[in-house]
Symmetry: C2
Subunit: 116 residues, 2 copies
DNA sequence: CCGTATCCCTACCGATACTG
DNA sequence: CAGTATCGGTAGGGATACGG
């Protein structure tokens, strides 16, 4: 039990000493997963790879800048892959990684918790 | 499977139609759980009820205003209870609700995912 | 088609001082 | 002790126009 604490200790974070937002892996995770549109982007990629333009349509109201930002962040965090196909016109596909699917399972748990 | 989708449908949210940040229960949850210090406040309450001043000490670097704001939000969301004991000097205790513990279990899952 | 560049705005968050 | 009041900085996010 107290796995929240254990997980932090595993990550080399000190619980009895200082535990700040900057050293907390949960805070860090929520900081980018919690940014606007990010859960919906992940959700839209669960059914398979999607192109930039497709995502723009599937997420009515998002701006191109915001979508690009979310995709870059998620790629940097290793949650999705960006694949450029050498076609004309250019074709770019985004797909969840295994790690991204792992996070989407947690989003499932949150959805269940929220409606319960 | 696809419980992320199912959970949204359960909540009366339309997946095939419009799914915006404003109508997404996951986005809404992460919007306040993801705010700075919130996970750590929850973490500090897992071991039992705490007083305002105790939390202030247990969370080095947090400002009284921010702590008060987090506690009020968490109370409004039903994640903790605020109990005023009629003592002199005044004594106020905060304790996680069952729902709050449910969310802290999800934070556990996030911590595990983050270090894996 | 797939993004970037630019501008702006506001909502979050922190520091500090003060009160019931 | 347990907060509120006030002020100010900053980073996130949106609208729009433009570039490779």
């Amino acid at each position: 039990m107290e796995s929240f604490q254990e997980a932090h200790l595993l990550a080399g974070e000190t619980c009895s000493g200082r535990l700040t937002p900057e050293t907390c892996s949960v805070t860090r995770t929520l900081a980018f997963v919690g940014s606007k549109w990010t859960p919906l982007v992940i959700f839209r990629l669960r059914s398979g790879p999607r192109r930039y333009g497709e995502l723009l349509q599937l997420l009515p109201g998002i701006s191109p800048k915001t979508l690009a930002d979310r995709l870059q962040t998620l790629e940097a965090e290793g949650l999705l892959t960006r694949t450029v196909h050498p076609d004309k016109p250019p074709r770019v596909e985004y797909a969840l990684t295994g790690r991204g699917r792992g996070l989407s399972d947690i989003l499932d748990a949150i959805a269940d918790w929220a409606v319960a």
